[in-house]
Amino acid sequence: MCIERVPKITIVTGHYGAGKTNFAVNLALSVKKAGESVKIADLDIVNPYFRTAEYKSLFKKNGVDLIASDFAAGSVDVPAINLDLKGAVDRSDRVILDVGGDPEGAKVLGRFSPVIKEYGYEMIYVINRYRYLTQSAGQAVELMRLIEDSSGLKCTALFNNSHLGEETTAAVIAESKPFAEEVVRITGLKLIELPVKVYVKPPWQLTNN
């Protein structure tokens, strides 16, 4: 058995609305483009809408395997996660886990932590300085610590996804730089760079093709 240098499991977490899911979708597509086989699992047990599982056709077209819970089918109040993580990791180069964006949502990781620790992981914390509850670096770090505590795992990298939805401009993004640098300074974590396209949109912005 060879030793993996890049961890096989990538966990994407962050506050709801930080743009976690959009980042996870972009990450999955970029990994696939780089020639690796990739599975993406929707482990969000809290948020009912705007989820990874809604991008089924996009993933299919691009050869990304989607693992979604019954909850993600979108019609039940109580989520059920039915995931053979070990099997999924054995059968692909990379597995991306899109996890619910608060300490409650991150609890789901506890169940998988033996497998996650066995295979090694990176946990990317997505930050957005325009989102309520994470508008200062201090708040963003506080929420990160809570997510770490409830998941029993440690964040290993940051992604600055600061945006204001439809009102995002270059200036809006540029203004978030000092915030992101402050989070880096406090946590000592590295900032990941990945150009992102906006896939997560409300229905009125979606064209049928």
């Binding site: 948020n47 979108g74 325009y130 009125w204 912005q205």
Partner: protein
């Protein structure tokens, strides 16, 4: 003004706190749980009380009791939960009690689906409880407008002594948009005093009795007509709507809430093709903006109503236009939100 990215549900809760809401009573149901979660985290910081009741019925009756003391209060729920609250809402209307009730629609009937829907238009505008009553209903279409109508709803509730309903849907509750508030921070306002409240007279004034029970027909009729007079005044002062590109429009598309967002995109696509299409959007669905829709449709050859239901508001549109213009309907059910292209296709067929 500083902008914050918020979910519709969170924004309503924040706006309510800023409007001086001191008590929230509720019972969880998807897709509006962020309201209760936000209130439980924040309301106490502003001297308020969050209470998770044992049921929706308990929650609305707590609102009744709280409102009777003249304290600003609210509850929120989604379709099946709102059905449970209707008895309490009727009693509140009968006792002239002010409060704000947020209804975040999901697909029904029954437990249905947690996906967004507009199937509760009839319930909200026609029969939010038994009896002769008209309640004001706001139907916002964006997270910012959810903030704006929440602020307004608390004032109107007190001014007209009535429960005020905010009718949203799962999409508006869950989606995130930038919002701004009038002030940077929450500004604590002095609580208002009213002469009708039941908050302990301490032997210093005559006692007030809050009840919806009025056995004598003369008395009940007087109360109902006086209440309706207040609603007529509310109609004159607060009926609200928005029309876009209607002056030269051959086709006017009418929609409210989430559906009106899709309609707006479809209208823009139609205009690009050279089709003369305008949009009409009621902000208050009760009172329905009758005069405004008549005006918006004055040059229209056809009117299309789009709803995420089998068609409910379409009846109000037909009544307002007195069948003088053909009114067509397009809807999706079961939690589906129609896409702009889908509506454009319908518009093309109407031509």
């Amino acid at each position: 003004m500083k902008k914050t990215l918020m979910k519709g549900n969170e924004a309503v809760a924040e706006a309510a706190i800023r409007a001086g809401c001191k008590c929230y009573f509720g019972y969880p149901i998807t897709p509006q749980n962020e309201v209760g979660a936000y209130m439980s985290a924040k309301l106490h910081q502003h001297g308020g009380v969050f209470l998770q009741a044992e049921s929706e019925i308990a929650a609305i009756n707590m609102v009744y009791g709280c409102a009777a003391t003249g304290t600003r209060c609210m509850t929120s729920s989604s379709s099946p939960g709102i059905s449970l609250k209707t008895e309490g809402i009727s009693y509140m209307a009968g006792a002239d009690l002010p409060a704000v009730i947020l209804s975040v629609q999901r697909g029904g009937p029954g437990l249905g689906t947690i996906q967004p829907s507009q199937a509760d238009y009839f319930q909200t505008t026609r029969a939010l409880g038994h009896g002769d009553l008209h309640l004001p209903v706001f139907a916002p279409y964006s997270v910012q407008e959810m903030v704006d109508v929440t602020t307004k709803a608390f004032d109107i509730a007190e001014e007209y002594r009535t429960p005020v309903i905010i009718l949203a849907d799962g999409l508006l509750g869950q989606m995130m948009e930038p919002v701004s508030f009038d002030d940077e921070e929450v500004i604590e306002k002095p609580e208002k005093t009213f002469d009708w409240v039941a908050d302990g007279h301490m032997g210093k004034r005559k006692k007030n009795i809050i009840t919806s029970l009025q056995i004598e027909s003369e008395e009940l009729e007087q109360t109902i007509t006086a209440r309706e007079k207040r609603f007529e005044k509310l109609k004159a002062n607060h009926t609200q709507s928005e029309s876009v590109n209607c002056d030269d429009a051959d086709i006017v598309i009418a929609a409210y809430g989430s559906a009106s967002r899709v309609v707006q995109s479809a209208m823009e696509m139609a205009r690009e093709e050279g089709l003369k299409v305008g949009t009409f959007r009621p902000v208050t669905i009760s009172p329905f903006p009758v005069n405004a829709i008549v005006k918006a449709c004055k040059n229209a050859k056809k009117v299309l109503v789009v709803e995420m239901s089998l068609g409910q508001m379409v009846d109000d549109v037909k009544m307002a236009l007195e069948h003088k213009i053909p009114v067509e309907f397009y809807g999706r059910q079961g939690g589906f939100v129609p896409g702009p292209q889908e509506i454009l296709d319908v518009v093309r067929r109407l031509k």
